[in-house]
Amino acid sequence: MSKMHVKMTVNGKEVEALAEPRMLLIHFLREELNITGPHIGCETTHCGACTVDLDGKSVKACTVFVAQANGANVTTVEGLVNDDGSLSVLQEMFREHHGLQCGFCTPGMITRAHRLLQENPNPSEEEVRFGMSGNLCRCTGYQNIVKAILAAAAELNAAREAAQ
């Protein structure tokens, strides 16, 4: 199959490559760019393991063709660490509250939670559970994931207030 020229920004870096237009974004990231944070859990848009941020929205990269992402701005979990390489508040809170076990859902969870907290910086538990309902975890039972996200929201809000 003939290839197309794709260009996008991934975690702040410009990338260019030749790819079959039918290639899924998740495969493009993982196999062409070696960005293996986002995982594949179903390939049918159910599990959210492949969640990335695409032009400011959470999307499931297993359901986006690379052609559709041409020119887009993509952020994956690798792009969420602080500039000095330390864990972001969300990442730290997942660790602090034991919001992960096998870690396979975690990149998608954190990437989605990152966007959720931009959409709603002060969510209730109910809103977190609803906002995260596209991301499945088989290990944790979610209770600690929810706790981690609420704790991150509180900490980020406190930091924002302090800065004002």
Binding site: E43, E78, L87, E92, G103, F104, R138, G141
Partner: protein
Amino acid sequence: MTEAAQTREERATALKGLGTARKRVEDVRFTQGKGNYVDDIKLDGMLFGDFVRSPYAHAKVLSINTEAATALPGVVAVLTAADLEPLGLHWMPTLAGDKQMVLADGKVLFQGQEVAFVIAEDRYIAADAVELVEVEYEEQPVIVDPFKALEPDAPVLREDIRDQLEGAHGPRKHNNHIFTWEQGDKAATEAVLAGADVVAEEMVYYHRTHPCPLETCGCVASMDKVNGKLTLYGTFQAPHAVRTVASLISGIAEHNIRVISPDIGGGFGNKVGVYPGYICSVVASIVTGKPVKWVEDRIENLTSTAFARDYWMKGKIAATKDGKITGLWCHTTADHGAFDACADPTKFPAGFMNICTGSYDIPTAYLSVDGVYTNKAPGGVAYRCSFRVTEAAYFIERMIEVLAIKLGMDAAELRRINFIRADQFPYQSALGWEYDSGNYHAAWEKAMKAVDYEGLRAEQAKRLEDFKAGKTRKLMGIGLTHFTEIVGAGPVKNCDILGLGMFDSCEIRIHPTGSAIARLGTISQGQGHATTFAQILASEIGIPADDITVEEGDTDTAPYGLGTYGSRSTPVAGAATAMAGRKIRAKAQMIAAYLLEVHDDDVEFDVDRFVVKGAPERFKTMKEIAFASYNQAIPGVEPGLEAVSYYDPPNMTYPFGAYVCVVDVDVDTGVTDIRQFYALDDCGTRINPMIIEGQVHGGLTEALAIAMGQEMAYDEIGNVKTATLMDFFWPSPFETPNYQTDWTTTPSPHHPIGAKGVGESPNVGGVPCFSNAVHDAFRPFGLTQTNMPHDHWRVWKVAHDLGLHG
């Protein structure tokens, strides 16, 4: 503060040993997407394998035409059974003593069965080529019902063993029969039933489901033709066993095989078995001389790799009129699918189903299990439980409820009357186990008090009144469960898999500067071994957990072990860790005594040092001792500080728990709302409370899934109806409740640190608890038993059949 100025308590805290809610060391990698799972592995020149699978559940394979597929640019080869046959690899042994087709040999026996293996330069080309392989099938009659499979004129599924009267586990009585397994005293149990005041009888079905970890199964096989070494990376819960099996079936010498389990994205029993994808990838790598990756997709995972449960358990329970249980009888019809690929210890073809007397002092019992072939996927693995313990727990906890109904008794009281008392441990069960320790009454009373059981019952009675008066359409159900698990397989004298004794191991090396590495025969799939095993060791040898690296999963470096499943890591490898630590300590004692110029017996271990008895100001820290072991010539003591321990447990461990679930059931919609879930677990000594709590949350959520919706459903011609996450229920955060966790601590008397294991308890106890809650809501209307999963439709149907829709 200097080391010397620290109090004893501060020194102990600094170790982060047993009982510390230590943050997980794994998470620094995982939270930034730096895990290394099998699909992340990329080797030079790597090819991709993909399967052509059967659309039919039972058919003859008349021909396979691979021409068009092979001609597709980028396709390297297409393997069929004919290619594997000269190598003797078209069939493979299963862990249960049966054999299984690697690629369809003349026929297919379940939908999704592997028919041909395509090897191509990338996964897209492989997928294209799969479409181009032409297979001609001739459909055969399909059996999905194990009872029909045993009818006299049922079609024969396994032509390869037609008329063979002897199977791996004794005589076979029908061509679709695998084994009969009997435990206990049949005649005595029947006599008890015949003379009992009360006998309750029920068929309890535990439906077919699937472990379905978020990461599917996969591997990368890499045959290095130059040095003759095969490296096999994969999602293996038991890497050493995989190495031995790979050697036995491929003929490659075991020292030339290196098996590596990288990070694993959840296992839950799904990744114990050996699958055709592994064999095909190895053959493909040998044939092509290139690394070959195979990773299944979700549909393949659900339809072809190991399922769990599918037990039809017919039960009879006898009691006196005031509720003392006198006997238990159970006959199970076990649907194993097309090949018997259970992963049970060899002598236990129905696993530890004989723990089905549960937490109760039942003097007489009898269990028989018939294993049966059907046209479904093979498996029958221990899905987040020790071998068949979930089935056993569900059975007894349902039978108790059914008996309570028959007796007109409160189910909590009935349990109380029949619990094994604390003074009866070690307790010999009627079906052959010796329970190590327990205090069931204490756990039960704590649970009843925590939930205000009496108050809940009063609220429920009020709700029922309101319902009858037309004031509400919601019923309230209270689910109770007291379960006893049997985990930590197991003593080599009666536990082996393929002849490999189920011991486990730990090797420790202390470095000159006082930090350490510990290697184990197990492999974490999310349980946090790198965190918790270091904690066990920290308490044993006085080196901070933060200074101990834990490494698992590479057979070239780790000592031999049987892997991680059946909650065996803490009971077996955890014990090996403690024992190896004690060897280190024993040697450290000699070194300390030498350095302090006293007799060995005159020093004692104190948190992180050895002190002279009666003179605590004279001591040597473990750090100093470690250095001395490398730089001092000590008479009669070898240099270095290392130890290895292979631990053969004297007995299993028996964790237990008391759970309560409160549910509101809308009779018009069938919607169930879990209002409250209280889980008290007793897993003996607690290593890391944070991790225990996380395991309980996770196990309960899988239990919620199983009880309330998750199933592997087949239609009558063997089509899988739940092959994607659209149909296979997996609760989202929105559908999952919060849980209250609690504990009691009854250490195991035979385990070096008294730990029992916990990862699977919540799944074992959770399923009956959710299910009992739904049943309980309908008890006033005459419901005794209805099959799981209790999804909205089935709950609505129960209400409808009971006449609650007017």
